[in-house]
């Protein structure tokens, strides 16, 4: 493994940038993600930073049921994220539609129909520790030796 790759691995393991998008959730999962930022869970101690800018992000947290307004926009947003990137579905909504997925509703879950989803965190909402665990266990898998794997 080249020295450059080793440096990249080291840096990436301590600097994971997360952005989150709400494609029609009830706001419960959003609040749980915010709770990760608070001192009790303190996501930044693991080197995870939360942004609202997809162009800076490595990980996209998707929350919500996929309302019609998001059909085209989520793909655009996903394309803006530079490689290496990965999307995590947070909460029941992007996985199954949860309580909103009923007859005569307009929602269009699962989100994996629209963008590739690497991991799912079920729960309504999931605990902040579950979100944290998902990010922490996924990040090394995706980001370590990324350039080597791409060769």
């Amino acid at each position: 493994m080249s020295l450059l790759q080793q440096i990249k691995n080291k840096v990436r393991s301590k600097s994971i940038h997360v952005t989150f998008v709400d494609v029609g959730s009830c706001n419960g999962c959003d609040i749980e993600v915010l709770a990760c930022l608070a001192p009790r869970y303190d996501i930044e101690q693991y080197g995870i930073y939360v942004h609202n800018n997809p162009r800076e992000a490595d990980i996209l947290l998707v929350m919500g049921v996929m309302t019609p307004q998001w059909e085209d926009k989520l793909r655009i947003l996903w394309n803006k994220i530079p490689d290496p990137k990965v999307a995590i579905a947070v909460g029941n909504c992007p996985i199954s539609g949860c309580v909103f997925n009923r007859r005569e509703s307009y929602v269009d879950p699962p989100v994996s129909k629209h963008i590739p989803i690497a991991a799912e965190v079920p729960g309504c909402p999931p605990r902040p520790t579950e979100i944290l665990n998902a990010i922490l266990s996924l990040a090394p898998v995706v980001f370590r030796d990324y350039e080597e794997k791409m060769k």
Partner: protein, 219 residues
């Protein structure tokens, strides 16, 4: 003034403080035992009454299936020989919202989750449910599918499914006099079979669940 500067330097230049500032982590986060997580099996026998399925507020959260216990990701217990086929509630993470209602409503105590049962016992609470049937008569085409599919009707009037004319007025609903009539709403068990069987989405089952506080028996 001078004193406070020295105090600050002493405090914040000490090795201990700098080390903490750079390397401290919060304690590893664990799920507390009282967290109301996805329900687990207690090992008591499920009687297939389906009360848990009927109260579940989300589509596809729980199903009662004839499974081996070890097939439904829940612990195998001693009371039944492991690997035998029995009725078991199966919970689907990704659908289940961990509300604990199924745990609370199960008459046999098959499921457990956090302190739900404990608190139900302390507070002496229970659920009552009634069901209301609503027919949109502009959509209903009087096909009678619902009254044939209804499991309650099947018990009351078994010949109905064979195309015989209705022989009893004890059914939940019947097509009589050119209209679908709801006769005995109180007999409905809320299975929603009629809703599924209706080709025109004309019949809806409205579930009204009420939490009740039972009076203490000695009072």
């Amino acid at each position: 003034m001078n004193l406070s500067v020295i105090w600050y330097l002493r405090e914040f230049l000490s090795f201990e403080w700098v080390h903490k500032f750079l390397f401290v982590k919060t304690a590893p986060l664990t799920t507390p035992p009282y967290f109301r997580d996805y329900p687990l099996l207690t090992g008591k026998e499920c009687t297939h009454c389906l009360a848990c399925m009927m109260i579940c507020p989300v589509p596809g959260g729980i199903e009662v299936l004839m499974t081996r216990e070890d097939a439904c990701h829940l612990p195998v217990t001693q009371s039944r020989p492991p690997g035998s086929d029995t009725w078991n509630p199966v919970i689907y993470p990704g659908h289940c919202i961990r509300c604990g209602l199924c745990v609370e409503v199960c008459p046999e105590g098959v499921l457990m989750s956090g302190r739900v049962i404990e608190f139900q016992f302390i507070d002496n609470t229970a659920f009552t449910s009634t069901f209301q049937l609503e027919v949109d008569h502009t959509l209903c085409m009087r096909c009678g599918n619902c009254s044939i599919a209804c499991p309650v009707n099947k018990e009351v009037d078994p010949a109905l499914g064979g195309g015989a004319p209705p022989s009893s007025m004890e059914s939940v609903m019947l097509v009589t006099g050119g209209e679908l009539k709801i006769l005995n709403e109180d007999k409905c068990t809320g299975c929603k079979t009629c809703e599924t069987a209706c080709p025109n989405m004309a019949i809806r089952v409205v579930r009204q669940v009420e939490g009740i506080h039972q009076e203490d028996e000695e009072e």
